[in-house]
């Protein structure tokens, strides 16, 4: 491999690596959002359970 070939490979690998890291960061952010949605769903579900418990049976 000549010096020019090494530099060209380095340049294209850098572009590929940066795009890959960017996609990885976006994937991590989406994971966080998914966890937040689940937490919100749990929070929304809780008052409904409480309502059922307060119904008078006597």
């Amino acid at each position: 491999m000549t010096t020019a070939e090494k530099y060209v490979t380095a340049a294209y690998c850098t572009v590929f690596a940066v795009v890959l890291v960017y996609v990885l960061i976006i994937a991590l952010k989406l994971n966080r959002l998914e966890r937040e949605v689940q937490a919100l769903e749990r929070r929304e579900a809780k008052p409904a359970e409480d309502e059922r418990e307060t119904i008078s049976v006597g």
Partner: protein, 229 residues
Amino acid sequence: MEAVSRQYRVPLPALAAASLVLVTLALALIFFVAPNDADQGFSQRIFYFHVSIAFTAYACFAGGAWKALVHLWKRDPLADLESYVAVHQGLIFGTLVLVTGSIWAKISWGHWWLWSEDQLVLFLVLFLFYAAYFMLRFSVDPGPQRANLSAVYALFGVVLIPVSFLAIRIAKSFIHPIVFTRHGPNFGGWILATYCVAQAALLVLAYTLYRVELSGKRIDVRLRELSLA
């Protein structure tokens, strides 16, 4: 949800597939079809992505400025978000311009960076200007004030784009190659075809990443609203 939602004509999976096909085709043309440059030899192949990435970065900054103008005009919260994501994309592609340019400079000129070259320094100024956009944006609490300040700043930055672009043409020392003149591109045949495919690939890739990031940001904003409700 209405405040930060918008329907796009091209679905995201189609964009992602187009990016993959175009980038693969561009790489195939660059490494297997495009001829070696008579002057620079194999190292000239950096040109295809370096120049395409530079134009993509300019397009992202210009898009960010356009969305900033739309925000200031219509007070549309989504336009502020779109402007922010476009500037973010511009900064990522700007980083790649500096890195690929430095590698190419090292092979061609024997230096990673030359402070005497106006065009390099002006692109760095443009890059740092937009890097400071994020400092400004995150130093202000979320809300209309932050959106307005960010929009005005993004609009000011757009002035630097033609300055940076023209610097390559008006520079006294012509170390940096000029590929586009008043009479068109300085090359033809497979070199021009490969460049066009690479440019299309980078623009579609940038737009795909823009749409992915924007989708995440919109969900994030909606979640914050729901959490506060």
